[in-house]
């Protein structure tokens, strides 16, 4: 009797619940499978690399230069070379990237030109790294006569990761509440004082997290180095940014392309060194994020 007056029927809705619960479980299973699949792939990859390379990891491997004889070959020039390159990449890309982000967020008028620049920067982040290699070859190697030096490679890599740093920094700067800016301006602070004392400290965690992830990419990239002609066989260390050098991915790439199997194991050992460096950098990024986000 009462049911007849209702436009919806509760007992029918209740009957449908098991079907809905089944769907609920189904999707959970689907997502679980996706996660397991990714994880297994990663484990297989790591297992392969470690089974091949772990035996070749030794103090000598880290201490020796490249050699034609696999048992004497080491990765010293590549590790030191990568550090030299990053000594160029970190300051150049941070200054240009954060500077651009601050200009776009704090100073630029929101008009069509700004939006066009903004769109271009976002698109640049998706441009293949080979293209940045060609750009570096044209400008730094050919026009500025920097050759296959640390500086040429460092500047090319800076260009490559610049869009990522700009976008990450912009997001971090944009996330600073407008109330904080108002508080600063309200006390008579200039724009620069507000940026330096209020915006940047609040945005720092986001800027550094994004930047360190971008730096990891610069360490791992191979294609631009190949294009600008960075040698793989180097038996000396650079003494200045104008000296030729080699980098970890170049060394690994060179070893994998050799016919002797011994060198493939060396490549695996090199990959382990590279992975350790990347994991260390990402841990720093996580640490910075946790440390600075707790403050607010």
């Amino acid at each position: 009797m009462e049911n007849a007056q209702k436009s919806i029927r509760t007992d029918e809705m209740i009957k449908k619940i098991p079907v809905r619960l089944l769907k609920n479980k189904l999707y959970k299973g689907l997502f679980f499978f996706a996660a397991v699949f990714t994880f297994v792939l990663l484990v297989v990859l790591l297992a392969r690399i470690f089974s091949q390379g772990a035996a070749h990891l030794s103090w000598d491997f880290l201490q020796n230069f490249a050699s034609r004889r696999p048992e004497q070959a080491g990765i010293k020039a590549a590790v030191i070379g990568t550090l030299w390159m990053m000594a160029v990449v970190v300051p150049v890309s941070l200054l240009l990237g954060v500077g651009t982000a601050i200009y776009l967020e704090e100073y630029a008028k929101q008009n069509r030109i700004t939006r066009l620049i903004q769109m271009n920067i976002s698109n640049l982040a998706g441009v293949p790294s080979v293209v940045f290699g060609l750009l570096g070859l044209t400008i730094f190697v050919r026009v500025l006569f920097l050759g296959n030096s640390v500086l040429a490679a460092g500047l090319t890599m800076s260009l490559l990761i610049l869009p990522v740093i700009i976008v990450a920094s912009q997001e971090a700067v944009r996330a600073v509440p407008k109330e904080l800016r108002e508080a600063s301006y309200g006390l008579g602070a200039t724009k620069w004082q507000t940026i330096l004392r209020v915006v940047l400290p609040s945005a720092l965690a986001g800027i550094l997290t994004g930047s360190i992830l971008a730096f990891s990419r610069a360490i791992g990239e191979t294609a631009p180095l190949v294009v600008i002609g960075i040698p793989a066989f180097v038996a000396f260390l650079p003494k200045s940014v104008f000296d030729p050098f080699t980098a970890l991915p170049m060394q690994i790439y060179n070893w994998t392309s050799r016919p002797q199997e011994e060198f493939h194991f060396l490549a695996a050992a090199g990959i382990i060194v590279l992975l350790v460096i990347l994991i260390l950098m990402n841990s720093v990024a996580v640490w910075i994020r946790n440390r600075y986000e707790k403050k607010y």
């Binding site: 008028k109 301006y185 309200g186 008579g188």
Partner: protein
């Protein structure tokens, strides 16, 4: 007519004729547009020193816009156009030679939502001094204590002055923001609905503070709370649709308004 309860202040009549107060803000034919939206229309107001001037009116009437114009905070909004003159102590604030930094140093602002910096309590107050180039540690320490005392929050925070300001309650944060303004020893305090985000007890404390500060500072306060305006202000301006409908002694506005719209608003018939 049924008007809201209004306690007549005992010293009201005796105080009025005694001192000739000078103007802090004189607004002459001020207009403001956000793009095509005409937000302030021909505002004419004369605000006196060491008085509390309340600005009341329904949402969207332009009261917040107006108070943000007084320290040119509206400049931060893109596509803002103004016309007319606002004189602060006889100087047109729209004049290019009058730097906004100077105006905002002389005129402090307290915002709707407490907005302390993500720094310690001490650094929040010291911020204003530091940006103005004061480095002397003794002066900074003295000023921090003095400002916190003036804002009636010293006793609550003196033992944790180097702890984050975000650990304070909302009401304490707002009084901290008031102290932050006082550190620069301003001439005027602009308050944009300073108690709208606070609970009744905190609101009462801020109102008491405003009454104390009136002795030294000129205070202009925007409020959507009419009882608050009647409790703390000397003069009240009623804004509606970007215009000043009525501006008079608070007592007159609440007991004998000249305009029907003022009466309708304060009796709660709209808004």
């Amino acid at each position: 007519m049924a008007l809201v309860a209004f306690k007549k202040q005992p010293d009201k009549t005796s105080k009025q004729p005694s001192v000739e107060r000078r103007s802090v803000y004189t607004t002459k034919d001020c207009n403001l547009w956000y793009g095509n939206h005409h937000a302030l229309k021909n505002i004419n107001l004369d605000m006196k020193e060491r008085e509390v001037t309340a600005i009341i009116g329904p949402s969207g009437c332009g009261k917040s816009t107006y108070i943000k114009t007084l320290n040119r905070m509206v400049d931060l909004v893109p596509n803002v156009k103004t016309s007319g003159v606002i004189e602060y102590r006889g100087r047109n604030i729209f004049n290019k030679e009058f730097h906004v930094e100077e105006l905002r140093t002389r005129v402090g602002m307290v915002f709707q939502k407490p907005n302390p910096f993500p720094k310690s309590i001490f650094e929040n107050i010291a911020f204003g001094l530091r940006i103005h180039g004061i480095k002397n540690k003794k002066i900074i320490h003295e000023t921090v204590e003095k400002s916190l005392r003036q804002a009636a929050i010293w006793d609550e925070v003196k033992d944790r002055i180097h702890e984050p300001a975000y650990g304070l309650s909302g009401g304490q944060q707002q009084r901290l923001c008031i102290a932050r303004c006082l550190a620069l020893e301003p001439d005027v305090l602009l308050m944009d609905e300073p108690t709208s985000a606070l609970d009744p007890v905190s609101t009462l404390k801020v109102e008491e503070l405003i009454r104390d500060l009136k002795e030294k500072y000129s205070i202009i306060i925007v409020t959507h709370n009419m009882q608050q305006a009647s409790r703390i202000s000397d003069k009240t301006a009623f804004f509606l649709n970007g215009e000043v409908v009525e501006y008079d002694d608070t007592y007159t506005i609440f007991n004998n308004p000249a305009d029907n719209r003022t009466e309708d608003y304060i009796t709660g018939r709209f808004g």
